[in-house]
């Protein structure tokens, strides 16, 4: 009974990603989309907090949004997966519910 969480805000601008990670359960997936993709980057002032809170969940970013913002795959934190829109659909289908952190 796992949840797919989506986060579409920059973690540097709003608290949505941190709140989401604080409520996600083991086995859940947190997919960062739109401006949320910045949350998947390594070497930022937030990367440690994200990695720490995200320990029990799968972290993923939407690749089309990453490319749009000029984030190279090599910039992602270890263990962060990338998906395209088809992969986003697969995640939504393979989890029991979806929760958007707006």
């Amino acid at each position: 009974m796992a949840t797919l969480h989506t986060v579409n805000k920059s973690p540097f601008a709003t608290q949505a990603l941190l709140s989401c990670l604080g409520h996600a359960k083991a086995g859940d997936t947190v997919l960062m989309i739109e401006d949320g993709v910045y949350g998947g980057a390594s070497g930022t002032g937030l990367a440690e907090a994200v990695a720490g809170l995200g320990g029990a969940v799968t972290l993923a970013v939407l690749e089309p949004d990453m490319k749009a913002r000029g984030i190279a795959a090599s910039r992602l934190m270890d263990g962060v997966k990338t998906v395209d829109y088809a992969g986003f659909v697969e995640l939504a289908a393979s989890h029991d519910r979806t929760q958007a952190w707006l």
């Binding site: 709140s19 409520h23 996600a24 359960k25 859940d28 519910r97 929760q99 958007a100 952190w101």
Partner: protein, 136 residues
């Protein structure tokens, strides 16, 4: 999904009045009450500000919709989960919130509290136990 009745959770994470999401979320809850659903509301992050008492919107010229929360019991919407950590971070206690109750028809119409104060971990459990999660 027990006996075909779906569990709906309405998630409120935004403050009232600065944006319309809190009000329009409440409109969905009221309409949803006409359907056969197992309904819960979650108030966390800035969403807990929606429940603060003594709201007075006269000077901003915007309708004060906070009394509507007290009417939810009449619509059989009786489970309003409020996150303790969100309250504490904002310097709020249960005393700062409106009293919201419902009459329990299975218990001789005894008046019971609708606000259920939960920890962040318990809120995560509530969220993980739904069929549909609507975020506003």
């Amino acid at each position: 999904m027990t006996d075909g009745v779906k569990k709906f959770l309405y998630v409120n994470r935004k403050a009232p009045y600065g944006t319309i999401y809190a009000l329009e979320s409440l409109e969905v809850v009221l309409i949803g009450a006409a359907f056969d659903l197992d309904v819960s509301l979650a108030f966390l992050d800035d969403g807990v500000f929606q429940l603060v008492k003594s709201q007075d919107t006269k000077e901003i010229g915007v309708k004060n919709f906070s009394p509507t929360f007290r009417a939810l019991g009449d619509y059989e919407v009786t489970k309003l989960y409020v996150e303790k950590e969100s309250l504490a971070e904002r310097g709020l206690t249960a005393e700062d919130l409106q009293e919201i109750t419902y009459e329990d028809e299975d218990d001789d119409y005894a008046e019971k509290p609708s606000l259920i104060f939960v920890s962040r971990a318990e809120m995560a459990d509530v969220m993980g136990d739904q069929d549909v999660v609507l975020s506003f």
